[in-house]
Every structure is written in structure tokens, then in C-alpha cells.
């Protein structure tokens, strides 16, 4: 190579320069090629880049609140304040029932807890047991029972298949009792048919703050409309009372339902339930 020769033409010079470049830069070029190949090949690229992205994602996951929390909070609270009226209108009607239901349910839980406590206390010989024997129930018991005292409002005895009323008792006079008996039977039949094809009996219907307990016997059933919370032991008391009533007052086989029969059963029901204390 004769670079210094002044006799070379410009073309030759360019060629020579190129040759020189190749010699000097061949290593760099190879590296460049490799990088280009890596960039163009997705699999290779992702192998390199993924760990970095993953790391960033992990960081975001950990630190999202600090990094973006404020922005999102701002958006949400802005949206909320813009649609405040809408939300209030939506929630308000529901709230009332939800609160009522919640309180009732809480009382139920509370009462059941107290029930079991009393039971364990009474099984032992304890100062508290003695105390309550002499001084009656504790203040808290009284307060509780007055707040959400279970109360029997109406009792119906209904022939199972026909839905005909066999007798009834109501605290306040109610003229539509045979219609109610029919409707209850229809609801009961519908629910039993739809949900378990008659294998199991419907045991309770809840309507607003009323609970209607259904106690089923082979050819008739009792429906007891109550308010308040009823503990398991109180429910048991009620069931026992109903069974005793049936044994003493209801004929085993009823072919025809007539007013002589229903009047007799209603009178007996009133005697049983006018002063019925479910806690005893």
C-alpha cells in the first residue's frame, strides 16, 4: 500500500480508504451487526429486556400508592363529588332496610350468645346463678329483651294441601285470615316445588320486620307471625308448644273444613297464645 503516493487518483483513494476502514473497524462492525440482529430478533430482545420490565413492574406494584395514589384519589373524589346527588338517591332508600336488617341480625347473634352463656352459667353453681335467683335477671338482660323482644302476633293453622284455614289467632283483629292462609300455602307450594321438588319444607318467610315461622306436620302446618329476634331455644319452645297444641286440639284426619271446627280450634289457639311467653 502506498498511501503517500501522490499519483493515486481520487477513485483509488476512496477505495483505499474503504479498505483501511475495513481493517480498522471490522471488530466494531461485527459487534454492531450482533446488536442489530438482537434488536431485530424478538426472542433475543425480550430475553434481554423482560427482566428489566419485570423489575419495574414489581417496583410499581410495591410503590403504586406513593407514585400514583394521589392522582387517582383526586380523580375518584372529583367524580364522586360531581355525582353526589345521584349516589345519595341510589343509596338512601336501601340504607333504611339495610340498617334495620343489620340491627335485627346483630340482636339475633347477641341473643344467641347470651342464651348459651346463661345455659353454661346455670349448669354450674356460681355466684351469678345465685344472684339471679334472688334478684332476677341482670339489667343488661332486661334492657336487651325489652329492645327486641320476640312477640307472637298471629298464629295460623292451615290444611296443608288445600291451604284452607283450620283456625287462627291474632292480637289485632284481622278479617282476611283465610286469604292469608291461602296465599301462604301458595308461596310455600311454589317455593317447595321450585327449589327442591317437595323434598324439604319451607321453614320461614321473612317479610319486612316480620318473620313467619312455618311448622309442618303431616296434614297441616302452623304459621306463626312474629317480630323481634328469636333465639334457637325460643324457637324450640315455640315448636314444642305448637306440637302440644296440635295433639290436644286438632283432629288427626280432617275430611271437611267447616266453621264449627275452625271456631273450636281458634278459641283453643287464643287460649294458648294470648298470654304465651316464648322465653318459658
Amino acid at each position: 500500500m502506498n498511501l503517500s503516493s501522490s499519483s493515486t487518483s481520487p477513485e483509488e483513494e476512496a477505495q483505499l480508504l474503504e479498505q483501511l476502514r475495513q481493517v480498522l473497524l471490522s471488530e466494531d462492525r461485527e459487534e454492531l451487526e450482533a446488536i442489530r440482529a438482537m434488536l431485530e430478533d424478538e426472542a433475543q430482545l425480550s430475553e434481554k429486556v423482560s427482566p428489566i420490565i419485570r423489575q419495574h413492574l414489581a417496583f410499581l406494584k410495591e410503590n403504586f400508592r406513593e407514585e400514583y395514589g394521589i392522582i387517582i384519589e383526586e380523580i375518584v373524589s372529583k367524580k364522586l363529588s360531581e355525582s353526589q346527588d345521584e349516589i345519595v338517591n341510589m343509596i338512601f332508600p336501601k340504607l333504611n332496610t339495610i340498617i334495620k336488617k343489620f340491627i335485627t341480625a346483630q340482636f339475633q347473634i347477641l341473643k344467641e350468645g347470651i342464651d348459651t352463656q346463661i345455659k353454661t352459667v346455670q349448669n354450674r353453681f356460681s355466684p351469678k346463678n345465685l344472684f339471679s335467683r334472688f334478684f332476677g335477671p341482670s339489667d343488661s338482660d332486661i334492657v336487651l329483651s325489652q329492645l327486641d323482644n320476640p312477640e307472637v302476633h298471629e298464629v295460623y293453622l292451615v290444611q296443608r294441601e288445600s291451604g284452607l284455614l283450620l283456625g287462627s289467632y291474632a292480637k289485632e283483629k284481622n278479617t282476611d285470615q283465610d286469604v292469608i292462609a291461602g296465599m301462604l300455602t301458595a308461596i310455600k307450594s311454589f317455593a317447595e316445588d321450585a327449589f327442591n321438588r317437595g323434598k324439604e319444607d319451607l321453614e320461614m318467610i321473612q317479610y319486612e320486620n316480620y318473620k313467619i315461622f312455618l311448622h309442618n306436620l303431616p296434614s297441616y302446618y302452623f304459621a306463626v307471625a312474629m317480630t323481634g329476634s328469636i333465639s334457637t331455644s325460643e324457637k324450640e319452645n315455640l315448636s314444642n308448644k305448637l306440637i302440644t297444641f296440635a295433639q290436644e286440639n286438632v283432629p288427626f284426619d280432617i275430611a271437611n273444613v267447616n266453621s264449627t271446627l275452625t271456631n273450636r280450634i281458634s278459641t283453643a289457639l287464643a287460649k294458648y297464645f294470648a298470654h304465651f311467653n316464648i322465653q318459658e
Partner: protein, 161 residues
């Protein structure tokens, strides 16, 4: 006084609720509000054989009777099967439906009633009666009230007697 359960059944829109309302409250509504579930009503009926407290179940119409929950028919003293004389599809299943109803409650009396009599002429009624192989017990109109009282009163008399 005796109490008995009677059930009104048939396809939808034939006028079960209208007959129920006409008989119990002497009212008629032109608007069609389909029945959901069951409505139970009561009417005291004085018959030559004695008084009866009729508990009437007005149920949701079904195109075929085997779609009605079976338990509705239990303990029923009478079934009134209603069709609409102006809509042939409502008596197309009459034979199968009646056979089905008899099979699930053998002791019950079944009445077949063609309602909306006011929508057809006497001649059309005759042709219809000939077309249907089974006898129709009564043609009624809940709208004009024609034969509604008679339908329930005759049935009540039979049930008490």
C-alpha cells in the same frame, strides 16, 4: 259453613283474573295485567244446599297444564279450566290438558269454560262447540258479566250437595 278450594286454570290471557275479579268484586278491567304466581280470593256463596266459603285460586296461565306446579292442584275440590273463544290456540291442548288434570287429582270435578263470549256470535259459538270434541260446560263473559255468577253458583251448589 263449609270451606272449599277452587282453582282457575288455563292458558294465559284467557280471562281467569277477569272472571275472578268479576265474581269477587264485580269489577272488570280492559287492561291486561298478567298474573304472577297466585292470587287467592274468598267469596261467601249461598246455595240451595247450604252456604259455602269459596277459596278461589287465580293462578298464572300456562300454555300446557303440566307446566303448572302440581301442588297447586292438591286439596282442590274443583278446577275451572278456562279458554278464550276468540283464540283457538287456547283450546288446542284441551284434550291433553284435561287428561293431565284428571290424572293428578282424580277426585276433583273439572268444569270447562269458554270465556270472552262477547267477542263472537252465537253461530260462531255453535261451530266452535262442534269443533271441540269435549262438552263445554258454560260460555261466559267477564266483560259483560254474562254467566259468571251462574258458573260459580252452580259449582258451589254441586260442591255443597
Amino acid at each position: 259453613m263449609l270451606s272449599k278450594k277452587v282453582i282457575l286454570t288455563g292458558s294465559f290471557g284467557v280471562g281467569k283474573t277477569s272472571l275472578f275479579e268479576r265474581f269477587i268484586n264485580n269489577k272488570f278491567e280492559n287492561k291486561y295485567l298478567t298474573t304472577i304466581g297466585v292470587k287467592v280470593g274468598k267469596k261467601l256463596v249461598n246455595t240451595p244446599n247450604g252456604d259455602l266459603s269459596m277459596m278461589i285460586w287465580d293462578i298464572a296461565g300456562e300454555v300446557a297444564q303440566n307446566k303448572v306446579p302440581t301442588s297447586y292442584f292438591l286439596g282442590t275440590s274443583g278446577i275451572i279450566y278456562i279458554f278464550d273463544v276468540s283464540r283457538p290456540s287456547t283450546y288446542g291442548n284441551l284434550v291433553e290438558d284435561l287428561a293431565y288434570l284428571k290424572s293428578i287429582n282424580k277426585l276433583t270435578t273439572i268444569k270447562v269454560v269458554g270465556n270472552k263470549k262477547d267477542l263472537v256470535t252465537e253461530a260462531e259459538l255453535k261451530t266452535l262447540q262442534e269443533k271441540i270434541s269435549l262438552p263445554v260446560n258454560l260460555f261466559t263473559s267477564a266483560k259483560t258479566g254474562e254467566n259468571v255468577e251462574k258458573l260459580f253458583l252452580d259449582f258451589a251448589t254441586e260442591m255443597v250437595g
